[in-house]
């Protein structure tokens, strides 16, 4: 019986064999890391049995593995939520996939992958973008803020607070996109950016005070199938104006305060 504990002399291996062993060792290491993190111990046991034969090819502690070969690989450095992240990516990877699949930032959602629903909205250099229509490689050196980067520790961003206060969601799936969109939209208004509804389109850009119709116009790219729109508008209005929004559709007889039923 072969003693697998004995490390074979590397000279006995062909180049191909070395490559295979290196790859297997790498995938096993990655696999174990994932398994221990996700407690799929049973699965680990099954797959480990299959891999046992290779288990004792010890990997040097300081080994550096190339990531699984990327086609059309490009190096991109992004400043994401205040942290610089260097990535090697297929040049065709969208910002959304880079965030979700490479960086573990799954708050941004893939609702349609066609720029039609707004669930993937993130903020790049202060402007809202649809991350499903943005190639990650075009964001080199840019600052990206996702839903995960809005709160400062336990302190929620005012827009997050307002969405909770006015129940601006039901299932929550469109919510990260709605909130990122709303945050950047209010900055657009501050910068005096115009919309289809803007009345004064001449002169120097100055901060715009938004009516509800303006809020709707500027938020019309973010869909919510649960239909929480009135509450979304209210939440944004409160953050925009700094004043509390009276409920317009309270139980009629109970007035403005959310009285007990």
């Amino acid at each position: 019986m072969t003693d697998y504990n004995e490390r074979p002399d590397s000279e006995e291996l062909s180049d191909d064999e070395r490559a295979i062993l290196s790859e297997l060792g790498e995938s096993r290491r990655k696999f174990l890391g994932t398994v221990s993190a996700t407690t799929f111990g049973v699965l680990a046991a099954q797959l480990l049995a299959e891999q046992e034969i290779l288990a004792n090819y010890r990997v040097p502690e300081d080994a550096v593995f190339a990531p699984v070969a990327e086609e059309n690989a490009v190096s991109v450095t992004l400043n994401i939520n205040g942290t610089k992240r260097a990535l090697s990516l297929d040049s065709r990877v969208t910002l959304l996939d880079a965030l979700r699949e490479k960086l573990g930032l799954t708050g941004s959602k893939k609702g349609c992958d066609h720029g039609q629903c707004g669930s993937c909205t993130v903020i790049v250099d202060g402007r809202r973008v649809l991350s499903c229509l943005t190639l990650a490689a075009t964001c080199e050196g840019k600052t990206v803020t996702t839903i995960e980067g809005l709160a400062k520790g336990d302190d929620l961003h005012p827009m997050q607070e307002a969405f909770i206060k006015y129940d601006g969601f039901q299932c929550g799936y469109c919510t990260p996109g709605q909130i990122c969109s709303a945050v950047a939209m209010l900055d657009e208004a501050k910068r005096g950016q115009l919309s289809y509804l803007s009345e004064n389109i001449r002169g120097k850009a100055r901060a715009v005070k938004l009516s509800d119709d303006e809020i709707r116009e500027r938020m019309s790219g973010n869909l919510c199938r649960c239909g929480a729109y009135p509450n979304i508008v209210k939440a944004i209005r409160e953050v925009h104006t700094g004043t509390e929004v009276a409920e317009t559709w309270e139980f009629v007889k109970e007035g403005v305060n959310d009285a007990a039923v």
Partner: protein, 751 residues
């Protein structure tokens, strides 16, 4: 009480199916689906796909170890096409690859040789050709033939209502992992974990006790993930079984729209007879439901159409027949309202027809025929009605006459804008109409630190069911809600669940939780008695709902001491309780019974403004008086009303599902299928709670609220119609929903 998921939702930390961290070695699935609506599947060539980069395996029907069958009600739905294809989008092969991109790229390389057969896309055409899912269903009350003879006025006509794409923003998906001794762990975006478990068991041949289905939450369901989640979980399960590797499939939006069924389109014939006092004496209706290529949930949907065919009205003589017509479309399925809205649209159209012909206001006929307590419904149940109360309370708060007068005055001033006003009463039965499904279980553990874990069969999908269940536990135990955690829906913890559907999940699972908590509390109080302590909870707590849950500050040291004392005395701090709705039943052999625990009532008034040059419209208001019973969570319930109204308006106005004559979906993306956006919401939504004290079978008397408000949206159709009539009195638009802007324009200016 806020939805308990609020904080994680706004931080982007809520986990949905596609957010579950994948295990190294996971394969990605992609389906190759039929490009033809009906045909003989001569051959499937997977060679090229199988040799594409990253592809590990391609699976076709022949590879299945279990049965090629996922039909829940009738065994008429193969998982993968074998011999024939029945609709465009029917899965034929599954490609498994190391990455999502590789799987998708390779799926396009599968080749199928299909000999086209004639495709049927229309329900009436299917009926004419004898293509039915099952025998027709009938309801009969009184004697319509005789009654029509005595009627002063009789009118007949046709209606159509369109399909509706669910468009949950989270698409369908599943992720399966192999587990010990040949079992499977299945994460699924489903409203029906047990339905998924059964479908997986069927296609893999693995017994249910080795299949764990786990659901954290859905990014929207609306009925679309009741049975239609099964296929994707079954595909992943089969793939894991054959490759021994984890498999994930999260559908692309266009795959989802193309391959899954929608709300059933209906085509119907009606005949309505009234006496001289505008009382509806007789109603004859025939429904042709477009079921798609297999049964799915079409039969229970069809039944609920019959149950709601007279909406909120008492009609002494009713004859209703419903045909489920088999066509070559994706199997149509549950959608909020479950056939009820389709039935109500027809009676509302018949009433509008009569009102037009008699020159009276539509609401005059509606009001005179509302149900009273003690009236018999066409299916034999004697109703406890709040219909008249809801109508008159709405009228007294909103003043129908003034709203109508304002619209009339506006319309007299001329101009291209016209206003229309329509009343919409609703009556919706709560319970699964299939009686055995009205049961649920709850598993409650109290831990020695005083925290409580609850598991039920209910699936959280934004409707706040977990929040309500946590409220029940906190309320019974008299502790703060922060101490309660409602865990994922998991078939190992709760078995044989009914799907989260029929608006009934909070009632069934809430009641089961209440029973479990009460049993534990009883045991705790035996301990308290032995210790000569006052009974728990202290006076003034535990009265339920928004009103008061637990001691105000949340800290409950006595609770923890009591729990610990009980544990030391070896008292069981866990309970698995069962609840079955009492008193419900239905006998299809005579089509009579008492299928519903109770009914939800309400009346809405909808105001629309139509631009008569462009055909576009806006909704000025929807004001309703709604029967909540006694709402246990006003924030959640108001959200359900708001969302239901918006979705109902969408179905009646802008959402148009279009298949071409060859059965291909033309409204196949968000660019071609329009759902309500932030502009589509009425300028004002006013909600008045109907004041009722009548005890009911709802949890804490808080009536089910998921589906009923959708039907207020039907009023939107008739409000637009009134505005079109105001533009041209002679113009009586056909009853053909949705009333898209295009259709409105054609109606305004037909030469």
């Amino acid at each position: 009480m806020k939805n308990l998921d609020s904080k994680s939702h706004v931080r982007g930390e809520s986990v949905y199916l596609d957010d579950i961290p994948v295990v190294e070695g996971t394969l990605y699935a992609c389906v190759f689906d039929s490009p033809v609506a009906h045909g003989k599947l001569r051959s499937v060539n997977t060679d090229e796909a199988a040799s594409a980069p990253g592809v590990v395996r391609v699976i076709t029907a022949n590879d299945l170890i279990g049965e090629n069958q996922i039909g829940g009600i009738l065994p008429d739905e193969p998982l993968l096409a074998n011999g024939e294809v029945h609709f465009c989008g029917m899965p034929i092969a599954v490609v498994l690859a190391e990455s999502d991109e590789q799987a998708r790229a390779a799926a396009s390389l599968v080749k199928a040789e299909i000999e086209p057969l004639e495709a049927i896309v229309d329900a009436r055409e299917a009926f004419a050709k004898g293509s039915l899912i099952a025998a027709p269903k009938r309801f009969k009350l009184g004697d319509t033939e005789k009654a029509f003879e005595s009627c002063a006025h009789v009118f007949e006509g046709k209606t159509r209502s369109g399909g509706q794409e669910h468009l949950y923003i989270e698409t369908q998906g599943a992720y399966t992992l192999p587990s010990e001794t040949g079992g499977l762990r299945v994460f699924s975006s489903t409203q029906g974990p047990t339905a998924v478990q059964k479908a997986v068991a069927s296609v893999t041949g693995i017994p249910m006790n080795l299949i764990e289905v786990d659901v954290t939450r859905l990014g929207g369901g609306f009925g679309g993930k009741e049975d239609q989640a099964n296929a994707w979980a079954a595909i992943c399960a089969v793939s894991t079984q054959l490759t021994k590797r984890p498999v994930k499939y999260s559908l692309h939006r266009m795959e989802d729209m193309r391959m899954t069924g929608k709300r059933h389109p209906y085509s119907s014939d009606y005949r309505i007879g009234l006496d001289a006092d505008l009382r509806i004496v007789a109603y004859d209706v025939v429904f042709y439901q477009n079921a798609g290529a297999s049964c799915d949930l079409s039969l229970p949907v069809l039944e609920r159409t019959l149950f709601h065919c007279t909406n909120s009205y008492f009609i002494p003589n009713v004859s209703a027949v419903a045909y489920s017509c088999k066509t070559n479309l994706p199997p149509n399925t549950a959608f909020r309202g479950f056939g009820g809205p389709q039935g109500m649209f027809v009676i509302e159209s018949a009433i509008a027809h009569a009102a037009d012909a008699l020159g009276v206001d539509r609401d005059e006929i509606q009001r005179r025929n509302l149900l009273s307590s003690g009236d018999e419904l066409p299916y034999g149940q004697i109703v406890e009605s709040e219909a008249r109360e809801a109508w008159s309370q709405a009228d007294s708060v909103y003043d129908f006459a003034t709203l109508k007068k304002e619209a009339d005055e506006f319309n007299k001033t001329g101009g291209h804008l016209k206003k229309g006003v329509a009343m919409m009463p609703i009556c919706f039965g709560i319970s699964f109409t299939k009686t055995p499904m009205n049961q649920a279980r709850s598993l409650v553990h109290v831990y020695t630190d005083g925290s409580v874990a609850v598991s039920t069969g209910a699936v959280e999908m934004g409707q706040g069911v977990n929040t309500k269940i946590a409220q029940v536990a906190a309320s019974v135990f008299g502790i703060s809600i922060e101490k309660v955690k409602v865990h994922t829906t998991n078939t190992l913890r709760i078995a044989n669940t009914s799907p989260t559907a029929a608006s009934a999940a909070a009632d069934l699972n809430g009641k089961a939780t209440q029973i479990a908590c009460e049993k534990i509390l009883e045991r705790l109080n035996e301990v308290a008695a032995e210790l000569e302590l006052e009974s728990w909870p202290p006076v003034g707590t535990g009265s339920g709902g928004d009103r008061q849950i637990g001691p105000p500050e949340g800290e409950t040291p006595n609770w923890v001491e009591l729990v610990n004392e009980a544990h030391l005395r070896r008292v069981n701090l866990s309970e698995h309780a069962h609840y079955a709705t009492p008193g419900v039943g239905f006998d299809w052999s005579v089509a009579k019974g008492h299928p519903f625990a109770y009914h939800v009532f309400g009346t809405a008034i909808v105001g629309a403004t139509v631009d008569c040059l462009r055909g576009t419209y806006e909704f000025d208001y929807v004001k309703c008086c709604h029967d909540f019973g006694q709402s246990m969570n006003s924030a959640v319930d108001r959200g359900q009303i708001e969302g239901g109204i918006v979705q109902g308006i969408g179905w009646m106005t802008i959402e148009e599902v279009v298949y071409d004559s060859e059965g291909r979906l033309r409204s196949n993306a968000l660019s071609t299928y329009k759902i309500p956006d932030v502009y589509s919401v009425p300028d004002e939504i006013a909600i008045e709670a109907l004041e009722t004290t009548r005890p009911n079978l709802a949890v804490f008397n808080s009536k089910a609220v998921g589906e009923p408000p959708l039907m207020y949206g039907i009023g939107a159709y008739f409000a637009i119609r009134e505005a079109v009539k105001a533009f041209d009195k002679e113009n009586l638009p056909a009853f053909d929903a949705p009333f898209t802007a295009e259709k409105v324009l054609m109606n305004l200016h037909r030469s």
